[in-house]
């Protein structure tokens, strides 16, 4: 089991953003988290990545509790994420963005960087090579020298995924990666997520694009008003009465 959530609750003052949410993610599994806006999906990501601390409940990643870990430590443990509203380092190049993502897998300290020791140069060379591979994987290899902020929207989304992959995660959290993408871009994204799965990584996907979600997810978790209302394989979720009522029904109206 890669990730286990148990009765996770998050309250903001009197408002319960999440109540007793629990599910598991197995190695190499793609889990979709769906639900209407404000259902608590992004809050869930913020709890897993340590940006917020849960009010109660347990979050266990590879047999280790994540509660009380700082975000950078959690990234080091092997969980990486992208953001709903893209957050790249805009005036760094695409390649530099990916290299920054590999920060926690690098060792060179201050003085090694200043004196450019042999070990430091070797590390830089290796990491740049790996970063290029990742840029190629997400399909923007030819843009490595462009400033991240100058890339078109779809490529920025891909770059963000490459940056997240650079930290060599076992679990990747994607927050609405298809938002604002047209159909062909979404198809490419679907292929990319499948490729990431083939690399042996588990993925949790928050997404409103039902076509994408139904196609690639091994399991779906449905949230509404901070509560889990259903969980299961896409086929079952599609016909689940509570889900249709809360979410899919509205979509079809």
């Amino acid at each position: 089991m890669t990730l286990l959530l148990e009765q996770v609750t998050k309250q903001f003052g009197g408002l319960a953003a999440l109540t007793d949410v629990g599910f598991t993610v197995n190695p190499g599994e793609i889990v979709g988290v769906i639900g209407p806006n404000g259902a608590g999906k992004t809050t869930l990501f913020n709890l897993i990545t340590g940006v917020l601390a849960p009010s109660s409940g347990r979050i266990i990643y590879q047999k280790q509790s994540l509660v009380d870990f700082k975000p950078h430590k959690i990234t080091e443990l092997g969980i990486a994420r992208t953001f709903q509203n893209i957050r790249l380092f805009e005036h760094l190049t695409a390649l530099e963005n990916v290299v920054v993502g590999a920060h926690c897998r690098m060792k060179a300290g201050l003085w090694q960087g200043i004196w450019r020791t042999a070990a430091q140069r070797q590390e830089e060379k290796n990491i740049r090579e790996k970063a290029r591979e990742l840029l190629n994987l997400v399909g923007i290899g030819e843009d490595e020298l462009s400033l991240a902020g100058a890339l078109p929207y779809g490529k920025q989304r891909r770059l963000e995924i490459a940056r997240a992959l650079a930290s060599q995660p076992d679990l990747l959290l994607l927050d609405e990666p298809a938002a604002g993408m047209n159909e062909s871009e979404t198809d490419d994204l679907q292929i990319l997520i499948k490729k990431i799965q083939e690399l042996g990584k588990a993925v949790i996907l928050i997404e409103h694009d039902m076509g994408l979600v139904m196609n690639i997810c091994d399991k779906l978790v449905v949230l509404n008003f901070g509560k889990k209302i259903a969980e299961g394989i896409p086929k079952i979720i599609q016909d689940h009465p509570a889900v249709i009522e809360a979410y899919l029904g509205k979509e079809e109206d």
Partner: protein
């Protein structure tokens, strides 16, 4: 030659170099996006520590200056741990307050001689002149007196220190740590989630800025023979900030250019001494209106690089302005 060896110009050059070092100190903290106005305070700690160590404890100059830097660093640890949690304008205000607290403490302590300040601080120039005289050049060489040789030696030493700091800053910015700094500056939250210990690196940058400011203070103390609490008041904090605002804080050359310009400018405008603060204010406003990134930014450097080397431009880099959001 005679013209350049004029003590006035020699003095001006030493001030330019010391201000350039201060420019690097604010660049280092700004490279993580932290706006610290405490560098004048750290400078005063460095200056007083170094001056007192030489005056009262007889510590040799070459040891006292780094110790001044270390003292500034120590103080940075005490105030940095709580304040680096603050962001933007809150950090600026907290560090500005810190600078004033340091000034008031210095003003009221006996050992710092209060408002009168410390005078007859061992001079670097005199020390070096003596050394040169002892070397058998008491009569000077080629019509250059031993005093002038001492001043030249001071400038050389300062230039070496500045050179090393520039080298340090340039190497830093292209290393793993420098990238972490840049990432924190661009988006602290994204940096943290990308696996960067933002708190650690922000503190590190804060320390480095404090250390360099402390060194600059120590050097200044041993060049001017006299330091007083007024030298490190509010206007000094703003002056250091102006180096970065005028020159730019993207690349280390920015604050250095700012320091050079803002040191030379008051000398050129000597006839307008009363209007100095007004001119500073006007520069600030004009820069914010027309060139918020400062005179030198990364794209400026890229432009000059392509102009000088005439290499084909890298795709997408020529028309890119910083921080463009689609």
């Amino acid at each position: 030659m005679e013209f350049l060896l004029n003590p006035y110009y020699m003095q001006l050059i030493t001030f330019i170099i010391i201000n350039a070092i201060l420019g690097i100190s604010i660049y280092l903290t700004l490279s993580t996006g932290q706006l610290s106005l405490g560098n004048a305070g750290f400078m005063s700690v460095g200056a007083y520590t170094s001056a007192l160590l030489t005056l009262k404890a007889g510590v040799p100059l070459y040891a006292a200056v780094p110790l001044g830097g270390a003292a500034a660093c120590l103080l940075a640890a005490i105030i940095g741990i709580p304040t680096t949690r603050l962001r933007g304008i809150y950090l600026a205000i907290a560090t500005l307050g810190f600078g004033e607290v340091v000034r008031v403490i210095i003003l009221n302590l006996k050992i710092t001689n209060g408002a009168l300040g410390l005078s007859s601080i061992p001079s670097m120039g005199v020390m070096l002149s003596k050394g040169i005289a002892a070397f058998g050049l008491a009569g000077g060489i080629g019509g250059i007196s031993v005093r002038q040789l001492g001043s030249i030696a001071v400038i050389l030493i300062l230039a070496l220190i500045l050179g090393f700091l520039i080298f340090f800053a340039l190497r830093l910015s292209s290393s793993r740590l420098g990238r972490a700094f840049a990432a924190i500056k661009a988006d602290e939250h994204a940096a943290e989630v990308s696996g960067i210990d933002t708190r650690y690196y922000k503190l590190l940058a804060f320390f480095m800025g404090a250390f360099v400011a402390g060194i600059a203070g120590g050097l200044a103390a041993h060049i001017t023979f006299y330091i007083g609490p007024k030298d490190f008041a509010y206007h000094r904090a703003v002056e250091i900030l102006l180096f970065a605002v005028l020159g730019g804080s993207d690349v280390v050359w920015g604050p250095i250019l700012g320091a050079v310009l803002l040191t030379v400018l008051p000398e050129v405008l000597r006839f307008a001494t009363e209007y100095r603060e007004m001119i500073y204010g006007a520069i600030l406003v004009l820069m914010m209106a027309f060139r918020p990134q400062g005179l030198i930014s990364e794209s400026t450097l890229a432009l000059w690089r392509t102009k000088l080397t005439r290499q084909p431009k890298i795709a997408g880099q020529d028309k890119v302005t910083r921080r463009t959001t689609p």
